[in-house]
């Protein structure tokens, strides 16, 4: 898959309305605060409809209330134009001129963004890891995307019921729906984690060469085996707190090296390598699904000081049809070079 052009209006500090990208390695060079990460973030948003972490109000240029990002994607079987209108709190997605949802974009376009902040995937809060899993699964399976949205809705409804005076019948209905959807979500997650773990373990070994084995599993805090039992076990707590305290929305991904939790015991470097391995798994699974490589977006490769990881990243970029790589200095190989300064991007 190729990101042919990226357009934007009022996206953070960016000033250039349009960027034509080449096949191979596109390099974006600039000083600190020039706007490199902003270009890659805008590209990721335009290719996927997904805004990693941020709120829309934050990505709109200060003082503006409307903005836009757009991507022209070339696949083997055709070209798609994605337009995303941005207003505080709302994205308006159009796919080839038709109103669409983020899950419609996942059918025609895919991108993976690798940034220095990825280490937070390991050391940050469980919600970051759940988001990694959920957003990847939603892109791999439309069914998961729909089920997950329904599940979240049921949790919201159920929580509202727990906060008020719930009739017993009403609560049992929402609990049944919760268990039904929760079980499906869990089953799909477990299948995906198995695949993610296989790929991540292989790439961990390729990068680190320390002979350690990377394991990934899902932890749900409670020993009970099924969701129905867990719900019963926490009935008192949820009535007291007015929220659903068990279920897929509380589960966490646990990453281990030779059986020891990286979150608890790992070094900073091991965490970075493990998070990179998760991104590689994302890249490979999307590639498998589309039978085409996703657009690879590598932010700030020059901040990567570890020789193994740096070499691995550049290898990844060199062996994919198209990558966009940013840094304060250019990497050894470069097919199309841009320089950024004060939000202005110019082809070299």
């Amino acid at each position: 898959m190729l990101l042919r052009s990226l357009s934007q209006l009022n996206y953070r500090n960016l000033l250039s309305p349009r960027l034509e990208l080449a096949e191979g390695i596109n390099v974006i060079v600039g000083n600190n605060a020039a706007g490199k990460s902003n270009v890659l973030e805008a590209a990721y948003l335009a290719c996927t409809g997904d805004l990693p972490g941020g709120k829309i109000s934050e990505v709109l240029r200060l003082g503006e209330v409307e903005g836009f990002v757009g991507a022209r994607i070339k696949r083997i079987d055709g070209i798609s134009n994605i337009d995303i209108g941005l207003t505080p709190g709302k994205k308006i997605i159009r796919l080839d001129g038709q109103t669409a949802r983020a899950l419609d974009i996942a059918k025609v376009s895919a991108a993976v963004l690798i940034t220095p902040e990825d280490a937070d995937l390991i050391h940050g809060s469980p919600s970051l890891r759940r988001h990694y899993l959920d957003s990847l699964l939603a892109k791999l399976s439309r069914r998961y995307a729909l089920l997950h949205r329904e599940y979240n809705r049921v949790v919201e409804q159920r929580n509202a019921l727990l906060k008020g005076r719930a009739g017993e019948l009403s609560l049992s209905i929402w609990s049944a729906k919760f268990v039904e959807l929760g079980n499906e979500i869990m089953a799909m997650r477990l299948r995906a984690i198995k695949r993610i773990a296989e790929i991540a373990n292989t790439s961990y070994a390729e990068i680190a060469d320390d002979g350690k084995c990377l394991g990934i599993s899902l932890h749900s805090g409670l020993a009970a085996s099924n969701l129905q039992e867990k719900l019963q076990a926490t009935a008192h707590e949820e009535q007291a707190r007015g929220v659903t305290v068990v279920g897929p929305h509380r589960d966490d991904l646990v990453l281990e090296l030779d059986g020891y939790s990286i979150q608890a015991y790992g070094s900073r470097g091991e965490a970075r390598t493990a998070s990179l391995a998760l991104r590689v798994a994302e890249y490979r699974l999307l590639q498998e699904k589309h039978r085409e490589t996703p657009v690879l977006l590598l932010d700030d490769f020059s901040s990567e000081l570890d020789a193994n990881r740096r070499e691995y990243l550049l290898d990844l970029a060199a062996n994919t049809p198209q990558a966009v790589v940013s840094g304060t200095e250019p990497p050894p190989r470069c097919d199309q070079r841009f320089s950024v300064s004060g939000g202005l991007v110019s082809a070299f």
Binding site: E150, S170, W174
Partner: protein
């Protein structure tokens, strides 16, 4: 320049209508302003007339201009079949499919705790009152609430109560997309959904 207050008020009222954003509200307001007075008067009159003459059917809560709606008073229809829908628009969608000749019951919403909508906010009590004269052996209730989580929960809720009093209950199921609203399902899908309803 600030808009005159009468204009601001008109834009605000129009903007409260479903599907009308601030920009369309403004466009509509200017459009109305440019219309001849007679046409504006007719529109206002039509709105008031509709509001004054329309009410909910005493039996099924469909919108009607008589005590009982034309469906409830139609003796050609099967009075032992009641199809429960969320909105009058859903009733119309099923009527368009032409596959159904029973009666309806309009709930005017679906269970949604986060919006403060419980069983008492819907016409559920009226449904069960209606079912008191129902023949358990031949009668059937079809649950045609939306396939959204709220619609599903409402159907499950009703199904439990209906089974308790021994009434045959089925749920339309066939070919509806996950998370779909009935109103937007096409007629073929809907016709098939009704024909292939499953027993609950």
């Amino acid at each position: 320049m600030k808009y005159p207050s009468a204009l601001i008020q008109l834009i605000r009222e129009l903007g409260k209508l479903p599907g009308v954003g601030p920009k369309s509200a403004q466009r509509l307001a200017f459009h109305l302003f440019n219309l001849p007075e007679e046409e504006v008067r007719e529109l206002a009159q039509a709105i008031l007339n509709a509001k004054n003459s329309l009410k909910q059917c005493k039996l099924c809560y469909n919108i009607t201009d008589t005590e009982l709606c034309s469906i409830c008073t139609d003796h050609q229809r099967n009075h032992e079949l009641i199809c429960v829908v969320e909105q009058p628009a859903d009733l119309l969608a099923i009527e368009r499919s032409g596959e159904y000749d029973g009666l309806y019951h309009v709930l005017h919403g679906s269970l949604s705790p986060m919006n403060g909508i419980g069983p008492d906010q819907l016409t559920i009590a009226a449904l069960f009152e209606r079912l008191q004269g129902f023949d358990q052996n031949t009668g059937e209730v079809i649950l045609a609430t939306a396939t959204t989580v709220e619609g599903e929960a409402t159907a499950m809720y009703l199904a439990r109560l209906l089974t308790d009093i021994g009434i045959t209950t089925s749920r339309i199921a066939y070919g509806l997309p996950v998370g779909g609203d009935l109103e937007y399902a096409d007629e073929v899908t809907l016709g098939r959904a009704i024909t292939n309803r499953r027993k609950l």
